[in-house]
Symmetry: C2
Subunit: 273 residues, 2 copies
């Protein structure tokens, strides 16, 4: 039952264009795309008067402190790490003084998976996976939640890393490091995953077909060989770092192979125009 | 002289944390980082009342219609392509009715270049290149500017592509396709490019050094072999597509090699903590 949970499509999160083919609102899809990205583009409104939003890319991960074993198909908060400016802290505090649960933010991620080259410039496209979440951001003040969030963020990026590094954190580290928690209220995803899709008239036009190459150029991000620092003393790269590299590349290659196969076979599937 | 142009650092675009090491305001750096990204995260404020910004990832490129040969070290507008919703169109029109030069937007891009693993969880970091631009967005209504922008956007993604595809565009294509121009008013960039940077106490702690692997994991995005569509009739992949793949990968590899070399040699350079 739980894997059916979806964000209701409303004015804020609704995908308008090609929604039937590319939009997704189920928590599993939206949360998975968010969590595949190391960085969330965090947008907020610094000043209601001047109307310019401000965007800061920050490290982020989804988590549920009250129910840490919750899956990505279940409700999640977004935890954001990085330098939390005095401006953001003050805005979050002000929002809470105004009776809101925090500073209203929009979190956005996008991965371009490849370039789609078709017969007309106007049908060119990209394969991509993108998602947004909306919610209220506030500073995590509870010490146990903060430590839990830092461990969760560290291990999201490098599984098992928290237990490998120097422990415990020192006082300066804990005081200087802040974490934002975003109580998520809505979200959506948009995905394109398919071959070029040309107009019939172009495909049936022998002159155009004889002149224009159509196809796909994959854009794949892979992890390179781990490089020891100049002062590193350990001879072996830890197994979890090796595993991370292997898993990351296996997933990236598998997703790309699926896309390439669709291009070669021209299978028009979900997500494709 | 022109390569000295910079965006003045103000409240809106100022980089606060580690600004001396990571911030850049010169047009060349900011514009180059923006233009390396296919997708801009476009944020705007849909409703002054509810305070939630909205972010949409859209294809973007910098250009200067009045002075098309302007370099990236010179003033540039941002052109954004994709589905321009009725909401955005109406907001831009409303902003102009209110006497603004368009809808206030923030454009954000970020590329994570690798994971920086150090001795303490709190000194872990990423190498990255990020940039933001602020400006006023409005629909391009002049037909010649619109065609110019579509050609420029197409050729930014695949150099030389515009002249290869079916020409001319048909009426439906031109009517259905809209382009946003953002008159840029400010911007900044933030870059980290360096090895792990640990606290002296940790590096001098033999127990920590014997236990913790420190180093760097590169994250490199490369273009794969171009895949012909199932209906493509051209035997050869066009030379410009081959060149694009080669150039893209050469640049990605060269940038990564520079970072890896810094890790191996522990050269603490600009941009590094």
């Amino acid at each position: 039952m739980r894997n059916q949970l979806s964000y209701p499509a409303g004015e804020q999160n609704k995908v308008h264009r090609l929604a039937d083919k590319r939009a997704a609102y189920d928590l599993e899809t939206v949360h998975s795309i968010m969590n595949q990205s190391l960085v969330f583009h965090v947008s907020f409104q610094p000043d209601a008067q001047d109307a310019f939003p401000s965007t800061i890319p920050m490290l982020g991960a989804l988590g549920n402190f009250d129910y840490p074993s919750a899956g990505l198909n279940e409700p999640q908060d977004a935890y954001i790490h990085g330098y939390i400016s005095a401006r953001m802290t003050n805005l979050a505090r002000k929002a809470m003084d105004d009776g809101l649960p925090g500073l209203p933010v929009c979190l956005s991620v996008a991965k371009v998976d490849g370039l789609v080259l078709s017969l007309s410039a106007f049908t060119h496209s990209c394969n991509y996976r993108s998602a947004v979440l909306f919610g209220h951001a506030s500073l995590v003040t509870d010490e146990s939640e903060k430590l839990w969030a830092l461990e969760m963020l560290t291990n999201k990026i490098i599984p098992g890393r928290w237990d490998q590094v120097r422990q415990p954190p020192n006082k300066t580290e804990l005081v200087q490091t802040q974490v934002l928690r975003v109580r998520v209220t809505s979200g959506s995803a948009k995905v394109r995953a398919g071959p070029p899709a040309d107009d019939k008239e172009d495909v049936q036009n022998a002159e155009v077909m004889a002149k224009v190459w159509s196809g796909y150029i994959p854009l794949v991000e892979r992890m390179g060989e781990p490089i020891p620092s100049a002062y590193n003393k350990l001879v072996e790269v830890p197994e979890n770092v090796r595993d991370l590299q292997e898993e990351f590349n296996k997933e990236a290659d598998a997703y790309n192979e699926k896309l390439v196969k669709q291009v070669e076979e021209d299978v028009i599937s979900w997500g494709t125009i």
